[in-house]
């Protein structure tokens, strides 16, 4: 009964390094999302996907790229990490548009030095 699984849970990067965060869901959900949580800012949508092979920009997409090659996986990439990307990243999925609740993963704590 895994739900939404994020890897890794913690990561420390140096400025300019790259990395990929992996999100996997086993609920056969169509929609997947990446959010970041920062103090005083709530949860802000980075990118999202409405199905395999599709991606779209959210509120704060700059500096990130995503891919959804398989329905169950949604990858978030940082090509050249910056200290402003220090945050907690949450992946979420839902079964349909709009009026369906999001299921969240447990988060990835990322620090960029």
């Amino acid at each position: 009964n895994a739900g939404v699984t994020q890897t890794p849970k913690f990561r420390v990067l140096k400025t300019g390094q790259s990395m990929t965060l992996l999100c996997a869901q086993d609920m056969n959900h169509e929609y997947m999302y990446w959010y970041r949580q920062d103090p005083g800012m709530g949860l802000r949508l980075i990118h999202y996907s409405v199905g395999e092979g599709t991606t779209a920009k959210g509120e704060v997409p700059d500096g990130y790229n995503v891919s959804r090659l398989k329905k169950q996986n949604f990858l978030l990439g940082l090509e050249s990490a910056a200290p402003s990307q220090t945050s907690v990243y949450f992946c979420a999925s839902s079964s349909r548009q709009g009026h369906e609740k999001l299921f969240f993963g447990s988060g990835t704590q990322l620090s960029v030095l």
Binding site: E59, Q97, G98, H99, K101, F104, S106, G107
Partner: protein, 112 residues
Amino acid sequence: DQQVKQNSPSLSVQEGRISILNCDYTNSMFDYFLWYKKYPAEGPTFLISISSIKDKNEDGRFTVFLNKSAKHLSLHIVPSQPGDSAVYFCAASPPGTYKYIFGTGTRLKVLA
């Protein structure tokens, strides 16, 4: 500009009393609202939702009220328990979109 606002960063309530968490939104087209609870080091978990065609929805100790004319919703927890201590986020979904816009959260502390 923040479309979903939670103006109270924190709230403390005595155990057994009512907790009222508030949320305001700016877009009158939002048609679905959700509340999430988040414990430290965990992902947010769904609590309760309400559609814009309703003005109230209950689930056990949790009730959400929606005032469309004021563009305001509130979450009532009665009675409050120490295990309710968490950060609460409200979220809104614009019609015809795949997005959920979250507020900044309110940290609730229930004192034993």
